[in-house]
């Protein structure tokens, strides 16, 4: 238990150098980019300027080195100024403040759905190991694992939004309204969250099935059965409880994949989160926004992994104790 604050401290201490490295790579990539940042900044005004005017402007602005640009960016960033997004015509800090909560909401609901599906289906498959239920569940899990999330999202949209008309095809608010009401939010969130959750569910289903199946053959479980403990109680209280630990490991491993899924799902369903903004920033070569969003994504992943590791130590006191 004593090691948890130390673990958190060590990870957070590593976060800053990590972010420094990640942004440095992004700046180095930008320096080698064929896109002219000056033209991007001028936008359509560049068309009305002559070549010599552009040259003069370029000379006046100077061409700072990658390291200098990077240092300036961090100097401003640490003072809370992330610059202006050219594509969304907003302060970058404002973009993040408006969009990050929607992404976190989508990811959280999807994760809950994926974990819930994993626990229920994984346990059922393990109990009926080798039977038709097990075969159907594991077979489906492999196919879903291999299915690109953007494909599942489009087919889901076709069936549930276009053909059946149960849910809207995208966005956050109803047409003609700018206010986010709870009812509209639930209706708009349902399909993206289910698709994102479904895309992550196979990993949880398979790991829960495997561990519960192994634990069901363990001596202590046989002992519980021998003492006349009922089957649901043996499965839930004994086998599933040990099955939770490996699942937490998978939780940590899946965080980056969850963000990747969010990028695709948000884009398809026009969900106003940071993941779809990353794509907008990339397609319009909006460098300031892209750099900031890469940092935010990295922070989300590192914190997600950290949370999984902390949960693992809380659940299993043996881990970490050995290193004390």
């Amino acid at each position: 238990m004593r090691s948890i604050p130390r673990l958190v401290g060590a990870r957070l201490a590593l976060l800053l150098p990590l972010l420094a490295l990640v942004t440095l790579v992004v700046f180095a990539l930008a320096a080698n980019s064929p896109f002219d940042p000056l033209l991007a900044r001028l936008g359509s005004r560049a068309f009305s300027m002559s070549g010599s005017e552009l040259e003069a402007l370029r000379m006046a602005q100077g061409e700072p080195s990658v390291l200098a640009q990077w240092a300036t960016w961090w100097g401003d960033a640490l003072r809370g100024d992330l610059g202006v997004s050219l594509s969304l015509r907003q302060e970058v800090t404002q973009v993040i403040a408006e969009r990050l909560p929607w992404t976190l909401l989508l990811m959280a609901v999807a994760l809950v759905l994926a974990v819930g599906t994993g626990l229920v289906l994984g346990t059922l498959a393990a109990v009926r190991s080798g039977g038709w239920l097990d075969r159907v569940v594991t077979g489906t899990a492999y196919v879903v694992q291999a299915s690109p999330v953007f494909w599942v999202a489009l087919l889901g949209m076709w069936l549930f939004a276009i053909v059946l008309g149960w849910v809207p095809a995208g966005g956050l608010t109803d047409p003609g309204s700018d206010v986010v009401t709870l009812g509209a939010l639930v209706r708009h969130l349902a399909l993206p969250a289910v698709v994102l959750g479904l895309s992550q569910a196979p990993w949880f289903v398979l790991v829960v099935r495997d561990t519960v199946r192994e634990e069901l053959a363990a001596p202590y479980v046989l002992g519980a059965w021998g003492r006349g403990v009922s089957t649901p109680r043996v499965v839930v209280r004994h086998a599933l409880r040990s099955g939770l630990l490996p699942m937490v490991t998978v939780l940590g491993v899946r965080v980056p994949e969850l963000v990747t899924g969010a990028v695709l799902v948000e884009t398809i369903f026009s969900w106003p989160g940071i993941a779809s903004a990353t794509v907008t920033a990339a397609t319009s070569v909006d460098f300031g926004l892209l750099a900031a969003l890469t940092v935010v994504t990295t922070v989300v992943v590192v914190l997600g992994n950290l949370a999984a590791d902390v949960a693992y130590r809380l659940l299993d006191p043996r881990v970490g104790a050995a290193h004390e």
Binding site: P148, T260, V279, T298
Partner: protein, 297 residues
């Protein structure tokens, strides 16, 4: 591994790591391997030959047959420009195979180099280099690969080479970790000590004695990376950050199909995605052939 031995309960510390177990279970059965090989034996030649025999078929537009549902004339139907979806999917599959193979090869090459360097420096008493390289691996893994890939393509501009660069620069970490771990374990074996005592140089020990031992694992990692690379390419193309528009790509086809979905047509989106699923399952199934035999315990 027989059913009985997987069912026999072992305390947690005696079991293989979780992710290893999950990976090794895929394609264990002979039927799965056979089906995978048949699927690849049909799809690969079709993807290479069909666009080659009739180069214009994939782009041939027929405005009298826009969004035809699957029929005898167009087995999989047509897209919004009246192009035949079967021919177009096969042409896109050819692009995917090409990009997937090249990108997986480049990523594995980078990964093997970094992993071998890291492991070798440990045995040469330069553990700091190993630490540095492994922190680099952690750093690359801390950014979701698609986000990093999107940044790379956005900065380099959409082209075949930037997509391959994007995949290679994000996917080398898995083989790097694998090769490093395997080499560290091989370096502890007796024959390596014998070679060192026999007067072999560090370079010779690493290149002639240790590295060949991990070659089969590296090859397996490369094959398993092909579906990942294909997925990555299609995701980038789907976002409009992948292949240049004139090259048919599964991801770009699915992106185009968004309009069709809104019009209520399922087939332009369905087939290219199904091709991705089938290829992914078939390659991972066939990769089971390359898996080293379980060592007798």
């Amino acid at each position: 591994m027989s059913e009985a031995s997987t069912l026999a309960w072992r305390p947690a510390h005696q079991r293989p790591p979780l992710l290893v177990r999950a990976r090794e279970r895929v394609g264990r059965s002979r039927t799965a391997i056979a089906v995978s090989l048949v699927v690849l034996a049909v799809l690969l030649p079709a993807a290479v030959l069909v666009p080659w025999l009739d180069p214009t078929a994939a782009t041939h537009a027929d405005i009298t047959a826009v969004y035809s549902p699957p029929s005898a004339e167009h087995v999989l139907g047509t897209d919004g420009a009246g192009r035949d979806l079967l021919v177009r999917t096969l042409a896109a599959l050819r692009t995917s195979f090409l990009v997937g193979l090249v990108a997986a090869a480049v990523a594995t090459l980078i990964g093997v180099t970094v992993g071998a360097l890291a492991a070798a420096t440990v045995s040469w008493g330069r553990g700091a280099v190993d630490q540095l390289l492994m922190r680099l691996v952690d750093a690359v893994n801390a950014v979701p690969h698609l986000v990093l890939g999107v940044v790379i393509v956005a900065m380099l501009g959409p082209s075949v080479s930037s997509v391959i660069t994007s995949i290679a620069l994000t996917h080398w970490t898995t083989p790097a970790r694998l090769v490093r771990a395997e080499m560290l374990s091989v370096q502890g074996r007796d024959f390596v000590d014998v070679a060192i005592v026999g007067g072999a140089s560090r370079w010779r020990v690493t290149m002639r004695h240790v590295l060949p031992q991990v070659a089969s694992r590296a090859l397996l990692a490369a094959v398993l990376m092909v579906p990942h690379a294909i997925w990555h390419e299609s995701a980038l193309s789907f976002l409009g950050l992948g292949m240049p528009p004139h090259l048919p790509s599964l991801g770009a086809m699915i992106q185009d199909a968004q309009v069709a979905v809104f019009a209520g047509h399922w087939w332009p989106a369905f087939w290219p995605g199904l091709a991705l699923v089938v290829v992914t399952l078939a390659v991972s199934g066939a990769a089971a052939l390359l898996r080293p035999r379980e060592r007798a315990l």
